[in-house]
C-alpha cells in the first residue's frame, strides 16, 4: 500500500517535472548538442559541393592555431577579467552606500538600477555617440571647445576596448550591487555592535565582518557577471563591429561573423562551443566555491 503510494507520488513528481525537462531538452540541450555536432564537421554554405565532411577536432585546432582566433580569445579574457573585477568592486561600494539609511534612499536605489534596465543595444548607441569624434560629449569634457584636438576614441585599440569595458561596467555594476545588497541585509547588526564594543574601527569591521560574511553573495554576483561577460555581443556589434583592427573582436562576435556573414558553419559553431566550455567550466568552479561557502556557514551555526 505505502509502496504504491510512494510510487504514485514520485510519478506525480516526474509528471510535474516533465514540462520543465522538455523545455531544457528542447531549448538548451538540443542546441548545444547540435552545435557540437556542427563543430565537428566542415560545412561551408556557399560551397555545397564540398558536402558536410566529418573533420574531428580540426575546427578547434584551426581556432587555436589561427592568430585571429587566439587574439579574439585574449580580447575576451581581458574584457571578462577587467570588467567583472571593476563591476564587483563598484557593486560592493554601491551596495554599502544604498545599505545605509538616509533621506530619499529608495529614490537613489531606483536611480542606480536605471542603467541596468536600459536595453543594451540602446545603451551601446548612447555610448557610441558619447565617444564620437565629432559631436561626442567625451571630447567636450576633455578638450572643451578646442575642436582641433578632438580624439577618435573608438579608433584606437586600447581606448576602444576601454570604452566598451566602461560601457559594460556602467551598465551592470548596479546588478552586482543588487545581489551584494541582498547579502548585506543578512548580516546581523549585533555583530557590528559587539565589535564596536570590543573597539574595532570601521576598516576592521569591514574586513573582518562585512567582507567574510558577504563572500557567498559576492561569489553569486561574480558568477552571473562572468557568465554574462563571456557572452558580450551587443556592445561590440553596435559600437565597433570588432574594430579597430580586431581590437574588440570578442569571441561571440567572431563566431557570429563566421556563422552568419561568412557561412563557415563548422568553424563558427566551434567558436561558440569554445565560449560554452569556458562559461561552463567557470561556473562549475564558482559553484564549488559557493557550495563550500554555504557549507562552512552551516557548520559554524551548528
Amino acid at each position: 500500500m505505502s509502496m504504491r503510494k510512494a510510487y504514485s507520488e514520485s510519478l506525480t513528481g516526474y509528471l510535474f517535472l516533465t514540462p520543465l525537462l522538455l523545455i531544457i531538452v528542447v531549448f538548451s540541450l538540443y542546441p548545444v548538442v547540435y552545435s557540437l555536432f556542427l563543430s565537428l564537421h566542415r560545412i561551408i554554405l556557399s560551397l555545397p559541393s564540398l558536402g558536410e565532411t566529418f573533420v574531428g577536432i580540426d575546427n578547434f585546432v584551426a581556432f587555436f592555431t589561427d592568430p585571429v582566433g587566439r587574439n579574439s580569445l585574449m580580447v575576451t579574457l581581458v574584457f571578462v577579467g577587467v570588467s567583472t573585477a571593476l563591476e564587483i568592486c563598484l557593486g560592493i561600494m554601491i551596495a554599502l552606500i544604498i545599505h545605509e539609511s538616509f533621506r530619499c534612499r529608495s529614490v537613489v536605489r531606483a536611480a542606480i538600477l536605471v542603467p541596468w534596465a536600459i536595453p543594451t543595444v540602446i545603451a551601446s548607441q548612447m555610448w557610441r555617440f558619447a565617444f564620437n569624434d565629432q559631436y561626442g560629449i567625451a571630447n567636450y569634457l576633455v578638450y572643451g571647445t578646442n575642436v582641433a584636438h578632438y580624439d577618435a576614441w573608438l579608433a584606437s585599440p586600447v581606448s576602444a576596448l576601454a570604452v566598451i569595458i566602461l560601457a559594460d561596467v556602467w551598465k551592470t555594476s548596479s546588478f552586482a550591487a543588487l545581489i551584494i545588497l541582498a547579502g548585506l541585509q543578512t548580516i546581523p547588526d549585533e555583530l557590528y555592535e559587539a565589535s564596536k564594543i570590543d573597539g574595532a574601527g570601521a576598516f576592521q569591521r569591514f574586513f573582518k565582518i562585512t567582507l567574510p560574511l558577504l563572500k557567498p553573495a559576492i561569489l553569486v554576483a561574480l558568477l552571473f557577471r562572468t557568465m554574462d561577460a563571456f557572452r558580450v555581443f551587443d556592445l561590440v556589434f553596435v559600437m565597433t563591429q570588432g574594430g579597430p583592427g580586431d581590437a574588440t573582436n570578442v569571441l561571440q562576435f567572431y563566431g557570429y561573423r563566421k556563422l552568419f556573414a561568412e557561412g563557415m558553419v563548422g568553424y563558427g559553431s566551434a567558436v561558440s562551443i569554445v565560449v560554452f566550455l569556458l562559461v561552463f567550466s567557470v561556473s562549475i568552479i564558482y559553484l564549488k566555491f559557493i557550495g563550500t561557502g554555504i557549507l562552512e556557514k552551516k557548520e559554524a551555526r551548528a
Partner: protein
C-alpha cells in the same frame, strides 16, 4: 455583426487569393530608401500584365538582406521567384546553385546597352546570373568654392589631393578650425574594402591573380598604396575618426562643411546639395577619384541586380518581371524620380533625364570604368580577411605592413584551396 463582417472579409480574401493563384510572383528585396517608387513601378507591372507581385521586404543592410535571401534559397523555398542581389553576390549564388542562369532569356546583343562592369559582375564562369538594375561607383566630392579660392583644379593624383587639402586646411584654420582635408569610409566593414581597393588599383596594384589563382595582397604596388593611406591620409588630412566611419558619418562631416574632399557613392549628391540637410549645398562638385603616378583612376563598382531563384516554378513569368523592371522605360523613371543611377547607358543620353540630373553626364564616364571587387564564391570570407588586414595596417602609425600582408595572404591561400577543392 462583427462576425458577419469577418466572415465576408475572409471569403473575399480567399476569393482574391484564389483568383490570383495562377498568376502570382514572389519577389524578395531589401528595404528601399524610396518605397513609393517601388509601389509605383511594381504597380505599373501589375496593371499591365495582370500578374500580382507579392513583395517581401527584407532588412536595409546588404549583409542582413544576404542572410535572409540565402536562408530562403538554402531551404529551396518555392515562394521565392525573383530577388535583388548586391554586386558581390553573383559568384556565391551561382556556385551554390541558388541563382538561375539567365542566358537563355537574355541575348548577347541585349547586354550592349548596360555598363560592361555591371554585366561582368553578374557573370560567373561565362554564364549570366543577374540583370543590373542600378549601378554605382566611388566618386570624389569636393568643395568647388574652396578649390577656386585657392586656385586649384580638381586633383588628378592622390599626391595633389593631399597637397591641396593641406594648403586649404592651413589657410582656413582661423575661420573653420574643425575643417579637415578628407573624409571617407575606413571602418572595419565592407566599405573599407571598396575604399582601399580604389587606392590599390589606382597604383597598378592587384589583389587576386586570377590566372594562377594566387593571393597578391603583399605585392609591393599594393603595399605602397596602403602605406600612403596610413602615412598621408589617416590622422593627417583626414581625422583618425574616419577609422570609425561608414557612409553616413563620412557624409555628415562633409555636409557640415568640415571636409574639403569626400569619397562617396552617387547617392550623396542629392543630400549634399539639399539646402535643408547640407550647409554646403551648391558648393559641391564631383569628379573621378585620383590615381597614383603611372596608374589610372579606379572606382569600385556597386549596385543592385535582379536575379531568379533556381527553385522557382514560374521561370518564364519571373523573366517577364525582370525584363520589365530593367527596361529603358522603368530605368528612366528610376533616374528622374529617384535620382538613382540606372544600369543602362542610353538613359544617360536622354534629355529629360539630364535636365533633372545634370551631374549624370559626369557619372556615366565614371561608370564606364568601374572596377568590381574580386568575383569568388567565398567572397564574404575574403572580404573579412581584407577588412582585418587593411584596418590593422592603417590604424597603427608603424604597423608591420609586410608581416600583416603575409598573414592575410596565408589566409586567402586556404580559402582558395577550399574553392579549388569544390571545383571552383
Amino acid at each position: 455583426m462583427f462576425l458577419n463582417k469577418l466572415v465576408i472579409t475572409l471569403c473575399l480574401c480567399m476569393w482574391v487569393s484564389q483568383a490570383g493563384a495562377s498568376e502570382t510572383l514572389h519577389f524578395v528585396m531589401w528595404k528601399p530608401n524610396q518605397p513609393e517608387l517601388w509601389d509605383r513601378i511594381v504597380g505599373i507591372f501589375e496593371r499591365e500584365t495582370g500578374v500580382s507581385v507579392i513583395r517581401e521586404i527584407g532588412p536595409h543592410s546588404s549583409t542582413a538582406a544576404h542572410a535572409l535571401v540565402t536562408q530562403k534559397l538554402k531551404n529551396r523555398d518555392p515562394k521565392l521567384d525573383v530577388f535583388m542581389m548586391d554586386v558581390t553576390w553573383p559568384p556565391e549564388f551561382a556556385a551554390a546553385g541558388w541563382a538561375s542562369s539567365l542566358d537563355r532569356f537574355f541575348a548577347e546583343e541585349q547586354r550592349q546597352d548596360f555598363f560592361p562592369g555591371a554585366i561582368r559582375a553578374c557573370t560567373f564562369r561565362g554564364k549570366l546570373y543577374g540583370i543590373p538594375f542600378w549601378t554605382s561607383g566611388g566618386l570624389l566630392y569636393y568643395r568647388k568654392d574652396l578649390l577656386q579660392k585657392y586656385g586649384f583644379d580638381p586633383p588628378t593624383t592622390w599626391e595633389q589631393l593631399v597637397r591641396q587639402a593641406d594648403t586649404i586646411v592651413r589657410g582656413e584654420r582661423k575661420d573653420n578650425p574643425a575643417l579637415k582635408g578628407y573624409s571617407g569610409q575606413f571602418k572595419q566593414y565592407e566599405g573599407l574594402v571598396c575604399d582601399m581597393q580604389e587606392f590599390v588599383l589606382s597604383n597598378n596594384g592587384r589583389l587576386l591573380d586570377y590566372e594562377s589563382r594566387k593571393s597578391t595582397i603583399g605585392l609591393p604596388a599594393n603595399l605602397q598604396a596602403v602605406r600612403f593611406v596610413r602615412d598621408r591620409i589617416i590622422g593627417k588630412i583626414a581625422s583618425r575618426g574616419v577609422l570609425t566611419y561608414e557612409e553616413p558619418e563620412s557624409l555628415h562631416v562633409f555636409i557640415q562643411g568640415h571636409a574639403v574632399f569626400l569619397r562617396n557613392w552617387p547617392y550623396a549628391w542629392a543630400i549634399s546639395n539639399d539646402p535643408n540637410k547640407s550647409r554646403v549645398a551648391g558648393l559641391v562638385d564631383i569628379t573621378v577619384l585620383p590615381h597614383f603616378p603611372g596608374g589610372q583612376s579606379a572606382s569600385t563598382l556597386g549596385g543592385w541586380q535582379f536575379a531568379m531563384s533556381r527553385f522557382s516554378t514560374k521561370k518564364q513569368l519571373a523573366w517577364t518581371f525582370i525584363e520589365f523592371m530593367t527596361s529603358p522605360r522603368i530605368q528612366k523613371i528610376l533616374a528622374i524620380d529617384a535620382s538613382q543611377a540606372p544600369a543602362r547607358k542610353s538613359v544617360y543620353r536622354d534629355p529629360e533625364v539630364l535636365e533633372k540630373n545634370p551631374h549624370f553626364a559626369k557619372l556615366s564616364a565614371v561608370f564606364e570604368n568601374t572596377r568590381p571587387r574580386p568575383a569568388m564564391p567565398l567572397y564574404p570570407l575574403y572580404s573579412a580577411i581584407l577588412q582585418r588586414f587593411y584596418h590593422k595596417a592603417i590604424s597603427h602609425e608603424r604597423s608591420p605592413l609586410e608581416k600583416l600582408a603575409e598573414q592575410a595572404d596565408d589566409q586567402v591561400r586556404y580559402l582558395l584551396q577550399l574553392q579549388e577543392e569544390a571545383g571552383m
